[in-house]
């Protein structure tokens, strides 16, 4: 059975295919038997209420949290062997920004695989990191201590570190949490340019009103998988009500689900 699933072309082509993933804290499952095949080249939002297990699902997929059961395949192979294809941007508040490191130091961490454990960073590593900083508009801050940045700037540094990994799939955990509007726009532009290069992006997202503008695919999650697919098909009043347990008012839903007038196709 296992072999037949790997032979499935949808799975072997997908940068992240999750099969029957279950994670629990104690007795209570936080993620229950989730299947999701990330479409290659997509910009996918993972949406769901607080405590729906969005971050947990990603952490379990990346081997950061222990999974109770399930399979995680990157291009049809187990994640552990294929992690070089995946870049991960954790939640900004998950690290200690007082850490004695400069912006450039953090971006160089994205080159971990290119360097031996004890090797000093050379000029071309620093140049590569600087280039990634340019892409997020942070090159002027390269020498700054990371604690001196604003929230939006910190988030862009994290994104630059992911760019340095030059991975096929970038997984972002709430990249827009607590950032200003200008940073949000800048990040979206970077994500869309990655998509244009044929990269895949998977992003935990909270703001339902921008799902349509930013993303082309969506996974609705509330412990279980509620719905998944292209935004037009999967992101509907019915699936949202199911995911949020009827907590959204009909007016809210109307604004979210109806394509807004400002939507622009990229």
């Amino acid at each position: 059975m296992k072999a037949s699933r790997i032979d499935d072309p949808a799975i072997s082509r997908s940068p992240l295919a999750i099969q029957g993933l279950t994670v629990s804290y104690g007795q209570k499952p936080v993620v229950y038997s989730v299947d999701f095949i990330t479409p290659p080249g997509s910009l996918t939002a993972i949406v769901g209420p607080n405590g729906a297990g969005k971050s947990t699902m990603l952490k379990a997929a990346l081997g950061i949290k222990r999974r109770l059961s399930g399979e995680v395949l990157v291009y049809g192979e187990p994640y552990e062997q294929q992690s070089c294809h995946v870049a991960y941007v954790p939640q900004r508040n998950s690290v200690d920004w007082d850490f004695p490191a400069t912006v450039l130091d953090v971006v160089v961490m994205g080159l971990f695989r290119d360097l031996r454990w004890w090797q000093l960073t050379r000029r071309h590593h620093r140049d590569m990191a600087l280039e990634c900083l340019c892409r997020v508009g942070m090159e002027a801050f390269a020498k700054r201590q990371i604690g001196q940045l604003s929230g939006g700037q910190q988030q862009r540094v994290f994104l630059a570190r992911a760019l340095a990994q030059s991975a096929d799939l970038t997984i972002l955990d709430e990249p827009f949490a607590g950032v200003d509007a200008a940073t949000e726009k800048a990040i979206v532009e970077v994500l869309k340019s990655l998509k244009r290069q044929g990269k895949t992006l998977l992003c935990v997202h909270h703001d339902l009103s921008t799902v349509r503008d930013y993303f082309d695919h969506v996974l609705l999650l509330n412990v279980r998988r509620i719905a998944a697919g292209p935004v037009d098909k999967a992101f509907t009043e019915k699936t949202l009500q199911e995911a949020y347990g009827g907590r959204l008012s009909s007016l809210q839903l109307e604004q979210i689900v109806m394509p807004s007038a400002t939507t622009q196709k990229v």
Binding site: Y88, P90, D96, P100, A101, F112
Partner: protein, 309 residues
């Protein structure tokens, strides 16, 4: 001068090596907010050493190392158990586990009168730094005399090896250690083995604590894991510089502390000497205090980020 060679050279060198080694590891403990680990491990070394003495009847270094190592493992298991059963945070579990096990060690020492050998509570706390006498160290030329060198206290070689081992560890594992200290989730995602480096760090801390414990007692270890590194953090925002500062502070504490303890009372006309370990730890604490008051990087992100925004 011969006095210095015979009585002071070895204790001073041992104190310096231990201080530098502890401070080097301390940088990572401080950055990972795991300062209490060094404290915990150096405390539980005592019951481990007592137990190994009761079982084997010797104070051989190898038996002591094994005993202390087993005690460290038991403590780590106990901390995890308390954390899960009692649903308390890890620092509380650590505090409970290591004080309880240390107390048990003290009781074990008193019950089984081990006074015949050089193993008692005072020794455990202050160490026997002053007793590391080099009897053959009669003259400077003794430093080149193979026979005299063979008479050096064995603790010197032991702490030197441990120091070199820790140095090698930090150099080889530098990158995963730094990445894992800053962002463990990211480190796990790039397979930088944060759990393995965590474990190795704790093992290094344990080896250092045990070697130091035997040579200089636990007071220096506890102070040296934290004080120089914490003070160094206040001096700079650069990790490399922080480590350099911590080494400088450790060196100053060890030399100044040893000299003040041995000769300080004489300078003010008192015919006595103080515990070198106690004085070294006190100097380290004093340096930390000075860094807290005068260090250039005391104010952190909150105040600085506002001015940037």
């Amino acid at each position: 001068m011969a006095d210095f060679l015979m009585l002071s050279l070895v204790p001073l060198v041992v104190a310096v090596i231990i201080s530098l080694t502890c401070a080097l590891l301390g940088n990572f403990l401080v950055l990972r907010r795991q300062s209490l680990i060094g404290d915990a491990i150096s405390h539980v070394a005592l019951p481990g050493i007592v137990a190994s003495f009761l079982i084997t009847g010797t104070l051989a270094a190898s038996a002591m190392m094994v005993g202390a190592g087993v005690a460290a493992l038991v403590t780590v298991a106990m901390i995890e158990l308390i954390k899960h059963l009692g649903r308390v945070e890890s620092s509380a579990a650590m505090g409970v586990a290591f004080t309880a096990i240390f107390a048990l060690g003290v009781l074990m020492l008193e019950w089984n009168d081990a006074s015949g050998v050089h193993l008692d509570v005072e020794h455990a706390l202050y160490g026997n730094l002053e007793s590391l006498i080099w009897f053959e160290g009669q003259h400077w030329l003794s430093l080149f005399d193979r026979q005299a060198l063979a008479d050096l206290p064995p603790q010197l070689a032991r702490v030197t090896w441990v120091g070199l081992l820790v140095l090698a560890f930090v150099i080889v594992v530098w990158r995963p250690l730094v990445v894992g200290s800053f962002d463990p989730a990211f480190a796990a995602s790039i397979q930088a083995r944060p759990i393995l480096t965590d474990l190795l760090l704790v093992v290094m801390v344990a080896i250092t604590a045990i070697a130091a414990f035997e040579a200089v007692g636990s007071i220096i270890v506890i102070a040296m894991f934290i004080c120089p590194a914490a003070a160094a953090r206040l001096m700079t925002n650069h990790l490399g510089h922080q480590i350099a500062w911590s080494q400088a502070f450790a060196l100053i504490s060890a030399v100044l502390g040893y000299v003040l303890a041995g000769y300080g009372p004489g300078w003010i006309g008192v015919d006595a000497s103080l515990s070198a370990a106690g004085m070294i730890a006190s100097i380290a604490g004093l340096i930390l205090l000075l860094a807290c008051v005068f260090g250039p990087h005391r104010c952190r992100e909150s105040s600085q980020a506002v001015s940037d925004a």
